[in-house]
C-alpha cells in the first residue's frame, strides 16, 4: 500500500478475458457488476419461466385493512407495498438494509421492508406512512412535528425516519436528543439535515406526550 516512490508497476491489460472470467475474478475481490439485483417478477408471467417463482394468494393486515395479494416466495414486503398495494410512501434507497428509507412497523417494531419477505408477515400488523394519520386526516403528532419545524429537505428518507421515530417514541416517550438520535441511527439522510430532523422529531415527541395527556 505504501509504495512511497509512487512508481507502482503497471500490469499490461488482460488480453484474453471473457466477461464471465472477469466477473469470477472480481467476485473474489468482493464485487461484481450484476444485473441480477434489485429485481422483481410481475404477476403476468407466472409459470412461463417458473423455477419456484410462482405466486400465492396471501392476506396481510396493512394499515388496519385486510389486503389480499398474490405474492411470490422471494418477494419482499417493500415490493408488495409499493408495486402491488400502491403504497409508494415506503421508499427504496438501497434495497440492502443500509439506508432505512423503507422502514415500516410490523407489530409496532420497525423493520426494513426491503429485507422482510412478504409471506412472513401473515397474521401480523403492518403500518406504513400512509396509515399514520387518522382517517379524518388529522396528522400523527410526529408528522405534525415535521410540519411545525420544517424538518427534512428532499424527504425521500422521511417516511422511514418518521416510522422509526413513532416506534421509538412508543416505548421511550421522553427521550433526550442523544437517546432519540440513537433510536434513529438506522436511518440515513443524504441531505444530511440531521439537526433539523432531530429537532422535528423532538417536537413530535412533545406533541405525542401532549396528545396522551389530553
Amino acid at each position: 500500500m505504501s509504495d512511497i516512490d509512487g512508481k507502482e508497476k503497471i500490469e499490461p491489460p488482460p488480453s484474453t478475458l471473457s466477461r464471465r472470467d472477469l466477473i469470477k475474478g472480481v467476485i473474489v475481490g468482493g464485487v461484481a457488476v450484476s444485473s441480477a439485483s434489485y429485481l422483481f417478477r410481475a404477476s403476468t408471467l407466472v409459470g412461463q419461466s417458473a423455477r419456484g417463482t410462482g405466486e400465492r394468494l396471501l392476506t396481510i393486515n396493512v394499515n388496519g385493512q385486510l389486503r389480499r395479494v398474490d405474492v411470490m416466495k422471494q418477494e419482499t414486503l417493500a415490493w408488495t407495498l409499493r408495486h402491488k398495494l400502491g403504497l409508494t410512501g415506503t421508499k427504496l434507497g438501497c434495497d440492502r438494509a443500509e439506508c432505512g428509507s423503507c422502514t415500516v412497523l410490523i407489530d409496532d417494531v420497525p423493520h426494513y421492508a426491503c429485507s422482510v419477505l412478504t409471506h412472513t408477515v401473515r397474521d401480523r400488523k403492518v403500518l406504513t406512512i400512509e396509515g399514520l394519520a387518522s382517517p379524518d386526516g388529522t396528522l400523527h403528532p410526529v408528522q405534525q412535528g415535521v410540519i411545525d419545524e420544517q424538518g427534512f429537505q428532499c424527504a425521500f428518507c422521511m417516511p422511514g425516519f418518521i416510522m422509526a421515530s413513532v416506534a421509538f417514541l412508543k416505548t421511550n416517550p421522553n427521550p433526550t436528543r442523544t437517546e432519540l438520535a440513537h433510536g434513529l441511527s438506522g436511518n440515513l439522510c443524504r441531505c444530511q439535515d440531521y439537526d433539523k430532523i432531530l429537532t422535528a422529531m423532538m417536537r413530535g415527541a412533545e406533541n405525542m406526550r401532549r396528545a396522551s395527556r389530553a
Binding site: A42, R96, D148, A181, L188, C189, L198
Partner: protein, 852 residues
Amino acid sequence: MHKSDTESVAATVAATPRVYGPGHKLIGKDYATADLYAKVTGQAKYAEDYHADGMLFCKLLLSPLPHARVKHLEVRAALAMPGVRAILTADELPPPADTLTDNGTVIQANPNSERGLTMEPLYRGEPILAVAAVDELTAAEAIEKIRIEFEPLPFVIDPLETLRPGGLNPRKDGNIWVRPPAPAAVAGSPPPAPPPPTIGELKWTEADFAEAKGVRLPIGKTPDEWSYGDLEAGFRNAALVLDETFVTPDTSHQTLETRSAMAYWQNGKVYVHTGTQSTAQTVPAIARWLNIDVAKVVLISEYTGGGFGSKGTAAVSLVIPALLSKKANAPVMMRISREEETFIGRARPSLLGRMKAGFSKDGRIVALDMFVISNNGPYDAQGDVPTSGRIVSLLYQPQAMRWRGATVLTNTPPRSAQSSPGGMQGIVIMEPVIAKAARKLGLDQVAIRRINCPEGKAPFGAAVQGKRPYATSAFLKEALDRGAEQFKWSERVSRTPKRIGTKVRGVGVSLSCFVGGTVGFDGILVIKPDGRVSIRSGIGNLGTESVIDVHRVAAEVLGVPWEKCEITWGDSSKNLPFTCVSGGSQTTHAMTRAAHATAMDARKKLQEIAAKKLGGKPENYDVGNERVFRKGGGAGMTLAQAANYAIQLGGIYDGHEVSPDLNKVTKASVAALAGQGLVAAAKDNYPRDGATFSYVASFAEVEVDVETGKYYIVDFLAYADVGSVVHPRALGGQILGRSILGIGHAIGQKWVFDPHYGAMLSTRFSQSKPPTILDVPVNMQWAALDIPDPETPVGARGVGEPPVGGGCASILNALSDALGDDIFRRAPVNADTILTSVEAGRPMQHPLKAHI
C-alpha cells in the same frame, strides 16, 4: 461515532436566538412550505412512484471492463424470450444535437460526450444496452442470454499514471480535453460556433517526477495557467515558506433517490418522470439528448430525492426508457439500483494539489503558487480545477498568486459538479497549510484567517482585460468574529490539559466560500379574478424549499397574504418561466431577483389599470392589503377587480402581449396563460456590480482517542454571510446539511479501486459511508449575519455550496490541532490513518494515491 455526554458539552455553545428580516412581513420569517403535507403523509411522488398502464421495466447490461470494445453481440435468444419486448443498443441513439443559445450562437454537439449507451465502454459499469420486458426478472434473464464478446483495451485509473512518460491513455486519442481556437467573428452575423473540444495527450517528463521524489505532487506542464502580482518577490520576502501536497477523495453524490426514470409517448410527445435540479432547464436537455423539438417534451418532477449537483438537468440515462418506450410502444420504467447509481450516477472528482505558500511574520499570505490536477473520469471536463484557483484567490486574498491546473481523464465513472465543485477541494487543500503556518509562526488560528479574510468588493482570480474581477460584497470577517465569540474560541484554545488519558481534544476553524448567485432569469405570476395570486415556479424541488421560498418576495412586494398565493411547480406543461438550474447556489439570488422584478411588473400594471379606470396618473396609486388605491386616501379597487379589468383591457395586462426581453420559454408560457387574469412576467434586468459569492466561517472541536484512532466531533458551528435571510429554518437546514456533506469528506467517504481489474470496490453506502446521525453532534449550531448584499434588490445570496469546504476543513484542522502536522496529508482521515501515523510519527499513507 457518537458520545453520550455531548449534550452537556454542546451547552457550552451559546445558541443566541436571532430575529431575521426586520421590517418584513414574510422575508426572514419561518412558515410551513406547501409541499410538506404530501411529504409527511407519503403522498409525495418521486419518479419511481409512478405506475402507468401496461408499463414495462428495463434492465441494463453494464460493462464488466474499465475500457473495451464490443467485438460481437448476439441478442436473438434474448429477444425470443416470452415477455421481452425490446432491446436498445447504442447504434439506435439519435445523433447528438447542437444547441442554439438565446443570442443565436450554435454550440456544436461534442461527438465524444456521454450518450447513455456505448459500444466502447470507458469505465467499468458503463451501460452497453438495455432490455425492456414485462418485469425486471424477465429483463435480467434476457440479459443473461445475450452473448457479448469484448476486446479489452488499455485502461488507467490514477491520473498520475497516465501523465507519466509512456503512460497508458484512457481514451484512444489521449488523456485531456483540448479546446480548438474559435473561428474569427464576422461583423454583422451571430458569434461563430465554437468547435467542440477534442481529446489530446499530456505527458510529463521523468525529471518532473524525479523532482517530487514520490512524496510531493510532481509539477509538469499544464494546459491552463494564470497569475497576478510578483510571486518571486513574495517568496523572497516571506518569513515562512511552506510547500505542501494534499489529496482529496473521489466521492459519489449518493442521492438517496437514484436516477430512476419512467417515460411514455402520447400524441407525438414524450412524457418523462425523473428527478432533476431544474424543471425548466431539463426540458431543453431532454430535447437535445433525444434530438427532438423542445415542444415535444413534457417533464414531470414534483419531488426529487436529492441532487447535490448530480441531477443538474436530470441525467442522460433517461434516454434509455424514453427510446425503449418508443420502440416497444409502451411506458417503460428504468429503476436504477444503488450499485448502478454508483457507476452511472455522478461523483466529485478527487483533486491532487500542491501549495507553495509564503507568509509574512504576522501570517499574511504574500505569495501562493497553486498547482492542481483532477481525476475527471472519461467524459466532459468538469470545472473543479479552474474553480479551485478562483475560490482560493478570493477566500485568502494572496498578494501574489499563480494557479496551474490540468483536468485529467481516466477510466473511472463520470464526474459532475458536487456541492461546492472545486471550491471544496481548493479550501481543503489550502486550509491545512494555513493551520500549519499559524503553528510555525506562533499565531492564533482565527487571527491568521482574519488577516487574510476577503472584505467588501474583494478581487479574485487573474485580471480580465486589465482588471481583476471582484465580489459584490463580503462580510466574512464579521462572521468570523461573531462565530469565534459564539463558539467561545479563546476559552476552548486555552483549555488545559488537552490530553486526558488516551483522549486528546483539538479545535479547528476554517474559512469557506463559493459562488452565491447568477442573474437574468424570468418570473411569471397571475392575479386571478378571484383575487388569488398564482405563481409559476420553474425551480426543481430538491427540498431546499427555494422552489417556494423565493416567491415569498413577490407576495411581500405586492402586500398579498401568503395564504392567497398558490405555487405551481414540477410539471413543464404548466407554463413555467425560464429559470436557473438549482446548482452552484444560484437560486436564492437569481430567483428572488426574478420574483422581485415580476412583482414590480404586477405592481406597475395595477397602478396603470387603476389610473385608467379611476383617473389620475399611475404614480398616484399604491398597492397593498390586496388593493390598489389612491395615495393619501380616496378611490381604489381590489386585486380581484383589477384582474377583471386586466382581462377586459387585454394587451400587456392579461398576457396577450409580452415584454420582448423575456426568454422564449417564458413567452410561450405567458401566451398559454393569456386572458386568465392580470398576467405579470418580467426578466431580472437589475444591475449588479461584481460577482456574487456567499461565505461561511466554520468551527469544530474533536476528541481523538489515540489508542484506538477513533474520534468524535464534539461541537460544530457554522456562521454564514449569505446576505438577507429569506426562510430561517430552510437556511439552517442548508448551512448544517451542506456542512455535514463536507464533514463526510473528512471522516469517511472515498472511492477505492482494485487497480488490477480497474474495478471500484466502494459501491455501497457501507463502503463509502456518508455521515449518519451518530457521526455529528446532537446540537449543531448555525447562525447568519443577515446583512443584505448591496447588489441585489432583496439582498439575498445563495447558500448550498458555501458551507461545504469549511465543514470538511474545520474537522481536519481540529484533528491536526489535536495530533500535530505530521499525521495526514489527505482526506478522509480514518482511524487506521491516525493509528499508524501516530505510532510512526509521520504520515504513513501513500502521499499521492486517492484510491486507497
